[in-house]
């Protein structure tokens, strides 16, 4: 049997060969997976040296937990037949990926491949939240959070926006009833993770010494490498979301490259004017901001539109990351400033910059009126409110029951040592002072 989504995809581009489409989606899924270690390195460089391993473990832990939960029930909630009002899918329909295991000779792309491609989106979304609560959470509780959040927040929102109606299948309200456009996850991935990061940071509170102690990134070369890996993986994320080796995939690919570049340049320009210097951290952050904003729009705008979106995201995010100091919330690695704000920029600008040369509709600036802009605002707002509220509730309950935040002494000593019994760097043989035990000593 074919999944309804893939039937819809087949209708988009009937001339593409199934083998080519499948090959591209396999490669894209692997590229999206690479974003997880890429994010671990990107985030790892930003934290202090006493918590880099924990940050990387949070990202890899999310990869492991979310993948398992997705296979068991997450995919089914996101892409099963709608249960009620376009809010969530039937959790039993694809439980354990049943129904997708046997090959379907009529499917353009194997349904099980689509399921895992989508699962890796869930992985990245959950992993992104870790940046907002760096240096201060218990690892076991984080893993529980990953599972709960995937089921209660990610899968429903993915159902809303990614699950299209098809013959014999009813999908989510945002994509079908509302008609909002989100090509690769401005709502479900970027706004969702950003709003969740804000809620989690607010509920768990600031790091000890926030605003006073130096908390600068301990290794900017790691940040640069991580940004590069993320960018590379993003081609799978965005161009892969065309779900075929098609012209549309190429369009998304080009827009992804272009918006990353203009995001980088815009952030540097803001820094140069405001602070006097163009920084490497700014370049990495600007590229990621542009990539975040082009995620929803890469399949609906022209390359010139993509440039504008990258510029807007790079400049606005560069200004937005300072808000946490003014407003006093400790979104440690700027998940709010980059992903929430960048996601809002990209999702809303579709209403202005969508082009019927690429997508099915025109935005305001292309003579399409206010209609699409209104739909984009509703989708962005609904995702933000739902994610923020649910996440605040989940984090609060976990803090009260399991304990989410580490003890003060442990936070001062550093979570690498306390939670994982490791230190990331052993640069001085003498002061390492290590004495190995072997066997049962």
């Amino acid at each position: 049997m074919t999944t309804p989504q893939l039937a819809a995809v087949a209708a988009i581009d009937p001339t593409a060969t199934a083998a080519g489409d499948t090959a591209w989606l396999l490669a894209s899924a692997a590229l999206v997976l690479l974003m997880a270690p890429g994010l671990a390195i990107f985030y790892g460089g930003m934290v202090r040296s006493k918590s880099v391993l924990n940050m990387m473990m949070m990202v890899l832990g999310a990869l492991a937990v979310v993948t398992v939960v997705w296979v068991v029930v997450g995919y089914s909630i996101a892409f099963g037949d709608d249960v009620t009002l376009g809010l969530f899918g039937d959790p039993t329909q694809y439980f354990g990926l049943k129904g997708l295991v046997e090959a379907d000779p009529e499917a353009r792309i194997p349904g099980i491949l689509f399921a895992m491609f989508q699962g890796l989106f869930a992985v990245i979304t959950v992993a992104l939240i870790a940046g907002a609560i760096a240096d201060r959470t218990r690892f076991g509780t984080w893993l529980v959070f990953c599972a709960v959040w995937t089921v209660l927040v990610y899968a429903p929102v993915a159902h809303w926006i990614f699950d299209f109606d098809a013959e014999g299948h009813v999908g989510g309200w945002m994509a079908n009833k509302l008609g909002a456009l989100d090509f690769a996850g401005g709502t479900a991935v970027e706004i969702n993770s950003g709003a969740a990061g804000l809620a989690a940071a607010l509920v768990l509170g600031k790091r000890l010494g926030f605003g006073r102690d130096p908390m600068k990134p301990h290794n900017l070369t790691l940040v640069m490498i991580g940004a590069g890996l993320l960018w590379f993986g993003w081609f799978g994320f965005n161009a892969g979301s065309a779900l075929g080796a098609s012209h549309l995939a190429a369009m998304a690919f080009v827009n992804t490259l272009v918006a990353g570049c203009t995001g980088l340049l815009a952030w540097l320009l803001v820094e140069r004017v405001r602070d006097g210097h163009a920084t490497s951290f700014g370049a990495a952050s600007g590229a990621v901001s542009g990539l975040v904003a082009i995620t929803p729009s890469c399949g609906v705008v022209t390359p010139i539109g993509a440039m504008a979106i990258g510029v807007a995201a790079g400049a606005i995010c560069a200004l937005a990351v300072g808000l946490k100091y003014k407003l006093g919330y400790d979104d440690s690695l700027d998940v709010v400033g980059v992903h929430l704000v960048g996601g809002l920029v990209g999702t809303i600008l579709i209403g202005l910059l969508a082009s019927s040369d690429v997508a099915a509709v025109d935005g305001l600036l292309y003579g399409g009126g206010l209609d699409q802009l209104g739909k984009q605002l509703v989708a962005a707002g609904a995702t933000l409110v739902f994610s923020f509220t649910m996440t605040a509730l989940i984090v609060w309950v976990l803090e009260k029951t399991m304990g989410f935040r580490v003890a003060e002494d442990d936070e001062s000593a550093g979570v690498d040592l306390v939670l994982h019994a490791e230190t990331a760097y052993d640069l001085h043989a003498a002061t390492g002072g290590s004495r190995p035990h072997f066997g049962g000593n």
């Binding site: 002494d409 001062s412 019994a421 230190t423 390492g432 290590s434 004495r435 190995p436 035990h437």
Partner: protein, 112 residues
Amino acid sequence: MKLITAVIRPHRWENVREALELLGISGMTLTEVSGYGRQKGHTEVYRGAEYDVLLVPKVRIEIVAEEPDVDGIIQAIQSSAATGKIGDGKIWVSPVESVQRVRTGETGPAAI
């Protein structure tokens, strides 16, 4: 003139710096060191192999001061570095024979 040396917890350093600045202390030398006293180290585990790491990371502050200022400086460090738990560190004072500013060649209190 005296040399005040303090070994403290790394994460108390910003606290200590603020307290010293209130006293008008205009300069000091800071070194990242490791050592142990009554506070012993910790155990690390790498693929199941345990390592006893005896040494604990600390920060050492060195300040050269005139004698009348010494008690105030010690008080400021003590109160700002203390957490009340084992491992807060130590402060000691030793005599200094001479001090010279490299840039100007000034000596004695003028060089502090």
